[in-house]
C-alpha cells in the first residue's frame, strides 16, 4: 500500500457509520468498537481499502458500524469468504470479526484452513464463552459443566482454547487482549495490522446478559495485577502489583512455573524472557492452568512466513500456458474444414 493517507486527515468520526448500534447495554462489543474506530485512522490507510468481513452472531454485526467496505456473511464462513476476497484483490486491508461460536464451532474448519494458509488478514475473535444471539446456550469455549438453557445439568463438552487452537493450526500471529483494555487492545491491533499473514487476536469479551462476569476472575481491576501476565518480546515474564511474580521454564519437565524471584533460591535471572518467535513457549503460555497461573495477554507468537496471497500472485506471474484467448481456444491440434 503505497499511497497512504496522512494520519491527520482521518479521524474516528470518519469511521463511524450512520447505523444505530444494536448491542445490549453494557456489552463488551461497544468498547471494542470504540477502540477500533479510534485505531483505524492511525493506520493511514484510505477507508476504501479497508474491508471488514464477519460471520453470524453478536460480534458479526461489527462491519455495519464502520464506515468502510463491509460484508456480513453467513455463520462460520467468513474466513472462506475473506480468502476469496483476498484472491480477488491483494491490495485491501482485510479484517475479520468472529465469535467463539462462529469461529470455533460452525466455522472451525474454515478458521483452521485460513490459519494454515496464512491468508493475509486480521481475525478478531470476540470470545464471550456463550451463544448470545440465540439467547444463552453454551459455546465451544464454555467451561466444562457450565449450566445454560441447553445444558441444564451442565455441559459434558471439554472447551477449546482459541489461542491454543490458532497455534496448533499453524497460525503465524497469535495474541490476546481484553474488550475494555483500550490501550492494551490498541497496541495488539497495531501489531496485528503490521503483520503479513493471518493475525489471530482473541479478545475476552463480556456478555452482560448471558454470561456476565465470565472473565472477572482476571479482568476485575482489583485482580488484574495478580492474574494478568502482559507479555512483551524480549522482556521478562513478570507480573504482580510490583512485578514481584515471574514465570520460569522448568526444562526438566518442560513446564512453566510461577516463582517469586529472590525467594526459594530463585533470582531475577530465572524469569523467562519472552520470545514471541518460540512456538513452544507460546503454546505453554496459552495453556497455563488458570488461578495457579495468570492469563497471558499480548502478542504470544509472531513469525513471518510467506502468505497465501503471495503464493497466488507468484504463480500468476510465473505460470506457463497460453497467454491469449485465441491461443487457448485453438489448442494444440486444431484442423481446418474448407
Amino acid at each position: 500500500m503505497s499511497d497512504l493517507v496522512p494520519q491527520s486527515q482521518l479521524t474516528r468520526k470518519d469511521f463511524v457509520s450512520n447505523q444505530d448500534v444494536r448491542w445490549c447495554p453494557g456489552c463488551g462489543d461497544y468498547a471494542i468498537l470504540n477502540t477500533v474506530q479510534k485505531f483505524l485512522p492511525t493506520l493511514g490507510i484510505p477507508k476504501e481499502r479497508i474491508v471488514w468481513v464477519s460471520g453470524i452472531g453478536c460480534s458479526s454485526r461489527f462491519p455495519y458500524y464502520l464506515e468502510t467496505y463491509g460484508f456480513h456473511t453467513i455463520h462460520g464462513r467468513a474466513p472462506a469468504i475473506a480468502t476469496g476476497l483476498r484472491a480477488a484483490n491483494p491490495e485491501l486491508s482485510l479484517w475479520l470479526v468472529t465469535g467463539d461460536g462462529d469461529g470455533l464451532s460452525i466455522g472451525g474448519n474454515h478458521l483452521l484452513h485460513c490459519l494454515r494458509r496464512n491468508v493475509d488478514l486480521r481475525i478478531l475473535m470476540f470470545n464471550n464463552r456463550i451463544y448470545g444471539l440465540t439467547k444463552g446456550q453454551y459455546s465451544p469455549t464454555s467451561e466444562q459443566g457450565k449450566i445454560t438453557k441447553s445444558s441444564p445439568q451442565g455441559t459434558a463438552d471439554h472447551p477449546v482454547d482459541p489461542a491454543t487452537f490458532a497455534l496448533g493450526c499453524g497460525g503465524t500471529f497469535v495474541a490476546r487482549s481484553i474488550d475494555v483494555a483500550a490501550a492494551h487492545l490498541t497496541s495488539v491491533l497495531e501489531r496485528a495490522a503490521a503483520h503479513r499473514g493471518t493475525a489471530f487476536v482473541e479478545i475476552f469479551q463480556n456478555c452482560s446478559v448471558f454470561n456476565d462476569g465470565a472473565f472477572d476472575s482476571f479482568t476485575d481491576k482489583s485482580l488484574a495485577a495478580e492474574r494478568q501476565l502482559h507479555v512483551q518480546h524480549g522482556a521478562p515474564l513478570r507480573y504482580g502489583k510490583n512485578g514481584e511474580l515471574g514465570v520460569r521454564l522448568n526444562p526438566r519437565i518442560l513446564a512453566l512455573e510461577v516463582i517469586r524471584p529472590g525467594q526459594d533460591g530463585t533470582t531475577d535471572a530465572d524469569v523467562l524472557i519472552h520470545d514471541e518467535t518460540n512456538q513452544t513457549i507460546a503454546h505453554l503460555l496459552t495453556h497455563m492452568p488458570f488461578a495457579e497461573f495468570p492469563v497471558a495477554l499480548g502478542v504470544l507468537y509472531a513469525v513471518e512466513r510467506p502468505t497465501y496471497d503471495q503464493g497466488i500472485a507468484q504463480q500468476l506471474e510465473t505460470a506457463n500456458g497460453p497467454r491469449d484467448l485465441d491461443q487457448l481456444l485453438r489448442g494444440t491440434s486444431p484442423w481446418t474444414v474448407l
Binding site: P63, Y64, T73, I74, L85, L325, P334
Partner: protein, 623 residues
C-alpha cells in the same frame, strides 16, 4: 449422424473397401490396457479425416481396480459419420475387447453381426474366472452371432516390438497401439497423427516411442496382409461448416467459456472448488491457465469453495464454483447469501446419479428442481442447462454475462455425460464473442448499494477499493431504498418481489422459444433440456423423416423460461418430456403453463438410446 441406412447393420465379408455413412466403435479393456489413449488417438485421426463425431469414455469409479475384474473395465466409444453426428451412438458396430471382463460387460451392446475383435492372449483361465465365465466364450459357440476376429494381440505386440530392449511388461503395454493400428487400417485412416502423438508423448523415452510406433505399424500391417482384408471401410468426410475445429469435452468447454467471458468482461476469474467427480476436470483445466490470470483455489470443502467465490465476486472478480450433486447440496446456504446480497456468481453443477453419493461416474438429470427451488426462503436464481459438450462453452459464457448484467447467481447444469463426452467444435475467434457490458458507476453523492437499474433491476457492483462508495452488504433483509438492515414486514415483501422480478426480467434478453426440428405446431412436441439433446434430436429427426408429426424443443434457459414458451406449448396436441429423472422439467412446465405434459423417464445412470425415444414417440402418436 448415422441415418437409418442399410449399410449400418452388419459387416459384410465380401468387398475390399466399403463406403459407410458412419460407424460406432467401442474400445474396451482393463483399466491398465490404455483404452482411453487408443480412443483419443482414433478420434484425432477420425477428426482429421473430416468426419463429424461424438465420443464418450466410460471408466470405472475405482482408481486402480484389480486387473481382469468386471468393475475394472474401461471403455471408450466413438461414433463418426459423413453427416451430422449428435450422440456417441446407442450400440457399437465394432467392439474391441481386450480381455474376458471387457467382452462380458460390453458384448450385450454390440449389434447383431457386428465386428468383434478379441485379444485371445488375455483369455486365460484366471481372467475367465474373474469375468465369471464358466466356459470360454471363444470356444463354446456363444459368439456365433457376431463377426468374431480372435487374435492374440498380446503375442503379436511382443513380436512386433522385440527389437527394442524392453521388459515383457513394458513391451506388453504397447498392445493398445497395436490395436489402434489395426483399427486405423480397418477404417482407412493414416497413422500420421498417432505417430506424431507418440513422439511428443515419449520425447524423453526414445525406446518407448520406438516400441509404440512399431506396434502401431504392425497392427496396421496385420490388417493389410491377413484375413482382415475382407473388412475395410471408408467413411467419407462430413459436410460441416468451414472453419477451424478442435475436439472438446464438456468440462473443458465450460472452463474455456468462463475464461473467454472473463477476458471479454475484463475481470479476474476466481474459481473456488473442491474435487468431486465428475466436475473435478473443470478445476484441473482452469488451474492450467494462470498465465491468463485465472485464480483457482482448492478449498477445504464445498462450502468454502462457494464462499471463496462469493468473496471474490464481492471483490470485483468473477466468482465461480464447480461441483456435482452432493456438493451442490452443501453450497445451498451460501447461494442464498449471493442471492440476498445480489452478487454475480456462477455455479457449475455437473450432475451425477443421486441421491447421496449415488453413482459418482454416471449421468443423471435429477438436480433440476434443486437448482430451481432448492434453497430456504424465496430465493430465485437463474438456471441454464448445457446440451452438448461444445455447447458448454456458450452456456458458461452466457452464465457469466447474465450474472454480471443482472447481478445474480447463475447455476449451470451439465452432467457426467457431457462432462466426459467430446465432439468437434468450431473454434470461435475472440472477435465473434458477444460483448459483456460494464455499467458506469453512479455518482458518488447519494450512492446507495441497492439502487437498481430501471430496466434490469440490477444493483450496482462496486468493489472494495473504490473511493467514496464505502458500503456494507449482508444476508439480513435490506431496506429497498437505503439498503440498510430492515425488519419491516412490508419492505420484506417488496424485496422478495424485487428479487424475483429481477431474475424474471432476464427473459427479456433471451431469444424466444423455438423448435429445432419440425413444425412449430402439430401433434407432438418433444421437450428436452440438457444432455439429452443429441438423442432426442436424432430420434425426432428420424420420426419426422418417416412422416410423423413431431417436433423437438430443447431448453437452455430453465429459469426463467424463454419468452413465448407457453404459447408454443399450447400449439401442440401433446407434449412429451423425456428426462433422466422422474419428471422434473415436466413438473415445472405443468406448474408454469398448466399444460398436460407426458413423461418419459429413465434413471439408470445412462443416456437415452435413440431407439428408446423413437419408440416412445411412436407410442405417443399411436395412442
Amino acid at each position: 449422424m448415422n441415418e437409418p441406412t442399410t449399410d449400418r447393420t452388419s459387416v459384410q465379408p465380401q468387398s475390399t473397401v466399403m463406403r459407410r455413412s458412419g460407424a460406432v466403435v467401442r474400445f474396451a479393456g482393463d483399466s491398465g490396457d490404455g483404452m482411453q489413449i487408443t480412443g483419443d488417438q482414433f478420434t484425432t485421426s477420425t477428426a482429421l479425416a473430416g468426419n463429424d463425431l461424438a465420443t464418450l469414455p466410460d471408466y470405472p469409479a475405482e482408481i486402480r481396480a484389480p486387473a481382469g475384474t468386471l468393475y475394472g473395465v474401461s471403455g471408450f466409444q466413438i461414433r463418426f459419420g459423413s453427416s451430422d453426428v449428435f450422440t456417441p451412438g446407442d450400440s457399437p458396430d465394432v467392439l474391441v475387447a481386450m480381455n474376458p471382463a471387457a467382452l462380458r460387460t460390453n458384448l450385450r451392446d454390440l449389434i447383431p453381426g457386428g465386428l468383434l475383435v478379441v485379444n485371445t492372449g488375455a483369455f486365460t483361465q484366471a481372467n475367465l474366472d474373474k469375468a465369471g465365465y464358466t466356459s470360454n466364450p471363444l470356444e463354446d459357440g456363444s459368439l456365433a452371432g457376431w463377426n468374431l476376429v480372435a487374435l492374440d494381440i498380446t503375442k503379436l505386440t511382443l513380436t512386433a516390438v522385440r527389437t527394442v530392449a524392453l521388459s515383457t511388461k513394458e513391451a506388453g503395454r504397447c498392445k493398445n497401439f497395436w490395436t489402434l493400428g489395426l483399427m486405423l487400417w480397418v477404417f482407412s485412416r493414416t497413422l500420421d497423427s498417432s505417430i506424431e502423438w507418440i513422439e511428443a508423448r515419449f520425447k524423453r523415452r526414445a525406446d518407448f516411442a520406438q516400441a509404440n510406433i512399431l506396434a502401431l505399424r504392425a497392427g496396421y500391417a496385420y490388417g493389410e496382409t491377413t484375413e482382415f482384408s475382407h473388412v475395410r471401410y471408408e467413411v467419407p468426410p462430413a459436410k460441416v461448416a468451414p472453419g477451424l475445429y478442435r475436439s472438446i469435452s464438456g468440462n473443458t468447454a465450460l472452463a474455456y467459456g468462463l475464461i473467454a467471458a472473463a477476458q471479454v468482461a475484463g475481470r479476474k476469474l476466481v474459481l473456488g472448488s473442491y474435487p468431486i467427480t465428475p466436475a473435478t476436470d473443470i478445476l484441473h483445466e482452469l488451474s492450467k491457465h494462470k498465465a491468463l490470470g485465472v485464480v483457482t483455489l482448492q478449498a477445504e470443502d464445498e462450502i468454502a469453495a462457494i464462499c471463496s467465490a462469493i468473496g471474490a465476486s464481492f471483490g470485483g472478480a468473477i466468482g465461480v464454483t464447480s461441483t456435482s450433486g452432493p456438493g451442490m447440496a452443501l453450497k445451498t446456504e451460501a447461494l442464498g447469501l449471493a442471492v440476498s446480497t445480489e452478487l454475480p456468481l456462477v455455479v457449475l453443477n455437473v450432475q451425477r446419479g443421486g441421491p447421496s453419493t449415488g453413482l459418482p461416474t454416471k449421468t443423471e438429470q435429477a438436480d433440476l428442481l434443486q437448482a430451481v427451488h432448492g434453497r430456504n426462503g424465496e430465493t430465485p436464481v437463474c438456471v441454464l442447462a448445457a446440451s452438448t459438450p461444445a455447447n458448454c462453452f456458450e452456456v458458461a459464457y452466457e452464465a457469466v454475462s447474465i450474472a454480471l448484467t443482472h447481478m445474480t447467481p447463475v447455476i449451470v447444469l451439465s452432467d457426467g455425460y457431457l462432462a466426459n463426452g467430446a465432439e468437434p467444435w468450431r473454434i470461435p475467434s475472440t472477435a465473434e464473442l458477444p460483448p459483456i457490458a460494464r455499467r458506469e458507476l453512479p455518482p458518488v453523492e447519494g450512492f446507495r448499494a441497492f439502487e437498481r437499474d430501471p430496466e434490469t433491476l440490477a444493483r450496482h457492483w462496486v468493489a472494495p477499493g473504490t473511493p467514496g462508495y464505502e458500503h456494507r452488504i449482508g444476508g439480513l433483509e435490506k431496506d429497498a431504498t437505503t439498503g440498510h438492515i430492515s425488519y419491516d414486514p412490508v419492505n420484506h415483501e417488496k424485496m422478495i418481489h424485487l428479487r424475483a422480478e429481477k431474475v424474471a426480467r432476464i427473459a427479456r434478453g433471451l431469444p424466444p422459444a423455438k423448435v429445432c426440428v419440425g413444425a412449430d405446431q402439430g401433434r407432438l412436441l418433444v421437450v428436452g433440456w440438457g444432455s439429452t439433446y443429441g438423442s432426442i434430436h436424432e430420434a425426432v429427426r428420424r420420426c419426422s423423416q418417416d412422416g410423423l408429426s413431431v417436433s423437438h424443443l430443447h431448453l437452455t434457459h430453465i429459469h426463467p423460461f424463454p419468452p413465448g414458451l407457453g404459447a408454443l406449448l399450447q400449439r401442440f396436441e401433446r407434449i412429451l418430456v423425456p428426462e433422466l429423472n422422474l419428471g422434473q422439467l415436466s413438473q415445472l412446465l405443468r406448474s408454469e403453463f398448466l399444460v398436460p405434459t407426458r413423461n418419459f423417464n429413465k434413471v439408470q445412470g445412462k443416456p437415452f438410446h435413440v431407439e428408446e425415444l423413437v419408440s416412445a414417440i411412436r407410442t405417443e402418436l399411436e395412442n
